[in-house]
Symmetry: C2
């Protein structure tokens, strides 16, 4: 069953196309699938489940939603008393239950965002976020248009632009470098979140802070749209930010060049107009 | 000879790898080559030379160095009195003379920049500029390192990174979106210029203003390194900024997506620490 475990971990580790919210659900599905792992008895099963949960929670350290949802499930496994068969059922049930709970948080987040955006029809977003994508789909179509950055090197924006256009939403597709030009032509910037830190800082795809700086110059509001389960106790100094292989940039094959591929960066709360979520987050960060 | 003219215009119009300073020299070489155009007499030749100069000066409107150097040559053609043969010689001589004058301005600019950068060893640059490239080559090597952005969609940074590394300068190669992260790790930002406007604003590759905003946040100085012949009477509202085909971004082939490819953007003088040039430019823009 080492293959099952490795396969499931890979589903989360190597998935660079889904955002944190979606990937946290993939993690729950992995936990559900792993409940079938062979075990000698209840304690052996629990030990295996917890070890798997720990591995899964750690593979994408910048995406705290995974850690948060997995930790909920983990706590329930530790507390459960019963034989191996019922623990197995409980592991599956809990994964599904937390999935449903997460879905409710997402629905509440979407409702908040749609209400708050109101008549801001021209929006700009960066990278891909399933939550932002669903907000865009729910917004009234009259006048709606979205500027999408390509988001090198993964080109997550390419996928989002294609999906939005297929859904009938007019898309302006730009390089990340053009964000400073186009942010002046929108009514609001809408970011998803990989994590929200203890001071309200946003962890999101590299390039986010540059756009937020340009939005402040242009007096365009910047909204972070995220379920509250992406909030973490971690601070800007303690959070681990993932770096991927520089080879993804296809740098020149010349000795002396080090290509860097920092996937995430931190955008401080003073660049964020508000957090749109299933719970009011602004008061947590000292805002009215 | 329509082919000669069209070929020469293409050398300037379709050249997206050279910066403005280099391209202005290419334009001078085109003027020199075009002096061989067949003509009935001196007036016919002059008419053809001036028409060609006007076309050449207009093909890359954001790169005012071309316009400036071509205008010098044009003025000399208007004023010249003599027969067709001597006008032809004069056209060639003037192109070469202005080329030499431009080279002297560049040398003086390099000297200013090298002296001013002093012991700032860790630099960040964006896009490609032959002037910046030459400054980097002349800087002392101890501790020198350069962060180079790839500069989508043309990937001019790829070429610069390869050249610098071959010359033994350590290079960190990043996506444009990572500039906000890496600008915090350098001693200065060094931009070339496509044009410098009447208020000191910089016209340079899209992405420049985002980097300048992040540099201001990080309290990292931003230098524009440019010959004074790139200064223009044009203002941020009057200057024409080139846009290229959006197909260069390879957007998703889905109806409803408009890919934009604004090559240049304007960075205002308040984001520029100083202009390093062959002449003191800061006083022109109201700085001490």
């Amino acid at each position: 069953m080492a293959d099952l475990r490795a396969d499931l971990v890979r589903r989360v580790r190597d998935n660079l196309s889904d955002g944190a919210s979606q990937l946290a659900r993939v993690a729950l599905e992995c936990l559900e699938a792993y409940a079938s792992v062979p075990a000698d008895d209840a304690e052996d099963l629990r030990r295996k489940l917890l070890a798997f949960a720990d591995e899964l929670a750690g593979v994408r350290p910048s995406m705290t939603a995974i850690h948060g949802l997995v930790a909920r499930w983990r706590g329930s496994m530790v507390a459960y008393r019963g034989d191996a068969g019922s623990l197995r059922d409980h592991a599956r049930d809990e994964a599904r239950r937390i999935h449903v709970w997460a879905d409710q948080a997402t629905e509440a987040t979407l409702a908040t965002a749609v209400a708050r955006l109101g008549d801001r029809h021209r929006l700009l977003t960066h990278s891909i976020s399933s939550t932002v994508h669903r907000v865009l789909r729910q917004l009234p179509r009259n006048g709606l248009s979205v500027v999408v950055t390509e988001s090198r090197p993964g080109l997550e924006g390419w996928t989002l632009a294609a999906d939005l256009a297929r859904e009938g939403i007019p898309v302006t597709y730009i390089t990340d470098a053009q964000a400073g030009i186009f942010v002046e032509q929108v009514d609001a910037v809408l970011f998803g979140a990989d994590a929200i830190l203890d001071d309200g800082s946003l962890v999101n795809k590299a390039g986010t802070r540059l756009i937020a700086l340009a939005a402040r110059e242009a007096k365009v509001p910047v909204y972070v749209c995220s379920e509250s389960f992406k909030c973490t106790e971690q601070s800007p100094t303690s959070v681990a930010l993932e770096e991927k292989s520089g080879s993804e940039l296809r740098p020149p094959p010349v000795p002396g060049i080090r290509a860097r591929n920092c996937y995430f960066e931190i955008t401080p709360p003073e660049l964020i107009t508000d957090w749109l979520s299933d719970q009011p987050l602004a008061p947590r960060f000292g805002r009215d």
